[in-house]
Subunit: 479 residues, 2 copies
């Protein structure tokens, strides 16, 4: 019999709490190579749920799925210098096959802009049709110095979308549209409130003109860049010599975008919602929405029958469930359900059967509900909706309560020391951003848009130069 | 305007015909590295359809999806010698990261038995629960000397299932069950008849005890190994020292299986069903089941309206479709539809609109149907079913007509020369198989089971030794 393990508390050691939760909740095991993980069934199921929802949106947008090679040749690598400088230290390099040296090194994709540029070039030369909107569900590899399961893995799963357009405005607008969808997806499905905006020059994607990001706050008040969309301008098109003919039959250089979200979001779900008892899944993304726990069912066959009756109702209501029909102790079963994060558990003992009664417990706040089984479908749906809303609300309050405005360097440093998200008037150089990072550990997360939900003043004085600016930048310590 | 290209005929050059079809039908472009391809939207959609059907079966069988690392460490490679000998020449080897040499080489998975063994070991040590049934949808890489799009790529997409069981019989039966499913899937969804059976010692998977295979016949009468399931015995479990405790609390070594099908099946679909005009998709796997072609719609708005009306009916009937509303010539549109393989096309001109009439053409035999639009849903469904059945029947007849029984070496050699599938009584050594391959180019595809659909005699005399045997082996030239 498996013994229950102890989860470190968040206040004692947040990093250890995180690893305790994801391992004890069976999301992953460590892989044999640094920074790699085995996605276990429950962990992978979260990703499958994410894929399903996000992919449905892409299909609606007439974005077509493709699959492009994992391998990038040497000569591609030399084509886009800024892009590759950003990724060079992380590139896994194949130099041998079956013990024999290759003539030219081959690289494993850290992202696929180079391959999509190559593909677009050939397709446009052949058909001269724009825009092309593609996406692939795949993995990329980046050899990171510091790794953290889901948050920063050597290998991670993601979608990477790539589009190419005749019009600059159309491309930039498309990248922004995707960023808006990412925000919508995180807030409405993962119950994770985000701050969205444009990256600073220093923080934008290597090779992009603009990067649009959505940033979330973890329970330790650190920021997590949760998804990004890039307007690439003509950077890749120029280097790959991609041309299309316009209506006047003149050669023109098109504009590109790329955008992605990854299994990093699994880490975000855990770090935003879970507690010291284990995982808490937002119902809309939960692999299992309801745990049905049988108590004393070995001696009480009617408990098993009642559990099956409940399961049937849930199945018809399209609510996912799992029955715990093991011989474990009650305490163990409850603990086990709490660790694995099903938003609701239903406890069935002989009393429930006798009274035709449901005993339902919310995972997030341990609130108990008792009602007749006839109300199960309706109640269950309502409570799942309520949990989804409450998790979002709780996270949103946390985000708002821990985001502060500052007007001076002193205030800035103090706020970062206090683990706050900090918004400051800021029109400084990338070098100044680097100084800030070295001194405080905080980085610029994004430039806030004018329509941000924060009531920003029209202008302020940039915290270093004192220069008047209408640019407000969010800073935070981040993953 | 894109010009129609010419497809080489099958009789002129089968290999060139194949490449012409898959490129002109927009299934793929060649990738930048030898043996890699860009899966274009239509090609990838076939794979998505395969995944959907096969995955639904796995879910029903309570096989759980996971995702395991792409990277295999040096010390794993040294654990299973027979297995690795089979793959060593094809292993892509990472020796550097960001320009710096690694202390130990890292290998890209050619298959993941080693990783699953490592995972099973940890899980069973922790929980002692058997069986475990896992699957992953991913890619593997094998550096092949001769490559061929879809059929033999450096990188290909596949599912690889891995299970571990307490009982030897249970494991072997499970591998057989999966092989039966593969046969069912190919025959019922891809309309590809197969011969299934066990691999010979020489041909079985590196590291397996038994390999169960399904073999299909292409239109040039070459065999394609289309999916395999392996009973691995305790080979990996012993090398990885995997133990479980039985009811008497004694340490036991469990038994494993692994099994997979891949994007090679896309090549099989093309090579079994298509013709000199291009692709022909079996309706159950077709990305687009119906092409709706508008003729003269620029001058006749009512043609567009009629097309939309048809589309609406098909959508409600859950039949996939695509409208060609371009300004191309009629001949071009028909040709283009034929190339891309939709099983049915509907041609709409002003006459059809006037008479409220559907003009429907079968892609496979060019049969034309005229009927009132009110019958569309019913007719369309029926004709799609008929096409599915007819494609299977045609391929099955080809398989039967081109499979011969032989009783001597001379007959054997003559039959192989005539491009036949050859069944021979055969109880010879692996060395003899190798001789046969060197002399005739044919390899043993599988040992036929007793319940094969071929009416096999009880026994025969092995074609070399003359020894009496009840073993009948299928030989063929293969991909």
């Amino acid at each position: 019999m498996k013994k229950p393990e102890k989860i470190t508390s968040r206040t004692a050691n947040f990093a250890k709490w995180y690893v305790d939760v994801i391992t004890q909740a069976d999301l992953m095991n460590y892989g044999p190579i640094k920074g790699t993980i085995y996605f276990k069934p429950l962990g992978y199921k979260i990703w499958e749920n994410i894929v399903k929802i996000v992919n449905a949106y892409f299909v609606k947008q007439k974005i077509e799925n493709v699959y492009f090679p994992l391998l990038i040749p040497q000569d591609f690598i030399e084509k886009e210098k800024k892009h590759i400088e950003g990724f060079a230290p992380e590139l896994l390099t194949i130099t041998k096959v079956g013990g024999k040296n290759l003539v030219e090194n081959i690289y494993i994709r850290p992202t696929s802009e180079l391959l999509f540029a190559d593909y677009f070039k050939a397709e446009i030369a052949k058909n001269n049709i724009l825009p092309i909107k593609l996406n692939q569900w795949s993995q990329v590899l980046r050899w990171e110095k510091t790794t953290n399961p889901f948050l920063r893995n050597t290998e991670f799963l993601w979608q990477e979308g790539h589009t190419i357009h005749a019009s600059k405005v159309e491309a930039d607008q498309f990248a922004k549209k995707i960023a808006r969808f990412y925000k919508y997806f995180l807030e409405n499905y993962l119950a994770i409130p985000v701050i969205s905006g444009q990256k600073t020059e220093r923080e934008k994607f290597a090779g992009a003109v603009n990067t649009y990001t959505v940033e979330a706050m973890m329970q330790n008040f650190r920021a997590l860049q949760s998804a990004t969309a890039h307007f690439l301008g003509q950077n890749f098109a120029k280097n790959f010599e991609i041309f299309y003919k316009n209506k006047e039959n003149k050669s023109q250089i098109p504009f590109q975008t790329s955008w992605g979200l990854s299994t990093r979001l699994i880490g975000a779900i855990v770090m935003v919602h879970s507690d010291d008892n284990g995982l808490i899944f937002p119902p809309k993304i939960a692999p299992i929405q309801v745990d049905i726990l049988e108590f004393f069912s070995k001696k009480n066959q009617e408990v098993k029958i009642f559990a099956k009756k409940i399961a049937k109702i849930l199945k018809n209501a399209k609510i996912s469930y799992k029955i715990d029909d093991t011989d474990q102790q009650i305490g163990y079963k409850i603990n086990n359900s709490e660790v694995h994060g099903a938003p609701i558990r239903i406890e069935i003992g002989p009393n429930e059967v006798k009274n035709n009664q449901i005993c339902l417990v919310r995972r997030d706040n341990h609130q108990k509900f008792f009602f007749n089984i006839d109300l199960l479908k309706e109640k269950c749906r309502k409570i799942l909706e309520q949990i989804q809303a409450d998790l979002f609300k709780k996270a949103k309050i946390r985000l708002l309560e821990n985001t502060v405005f500052v007007n001076s360097i002193n205030e800035f440093e103090q706020a970062i020391k206090n683990n706050k998200f900090v918004i400051a008037p800021f029109s400084e150089s990338p070098e100044r951003e680097q100084e800030i990072q070295e001194k405080t550990g905080a980085t610029a997360r994004c430039i806030l848009p004018k329509n941000s939900f924060f009531a920003l003043p029209q202008t302020g004085n940039s915290i270093f130069s004192g220069e008047k600016t209408n640019k407000f930048v969010l800073f935070a310590k981040s993953y």
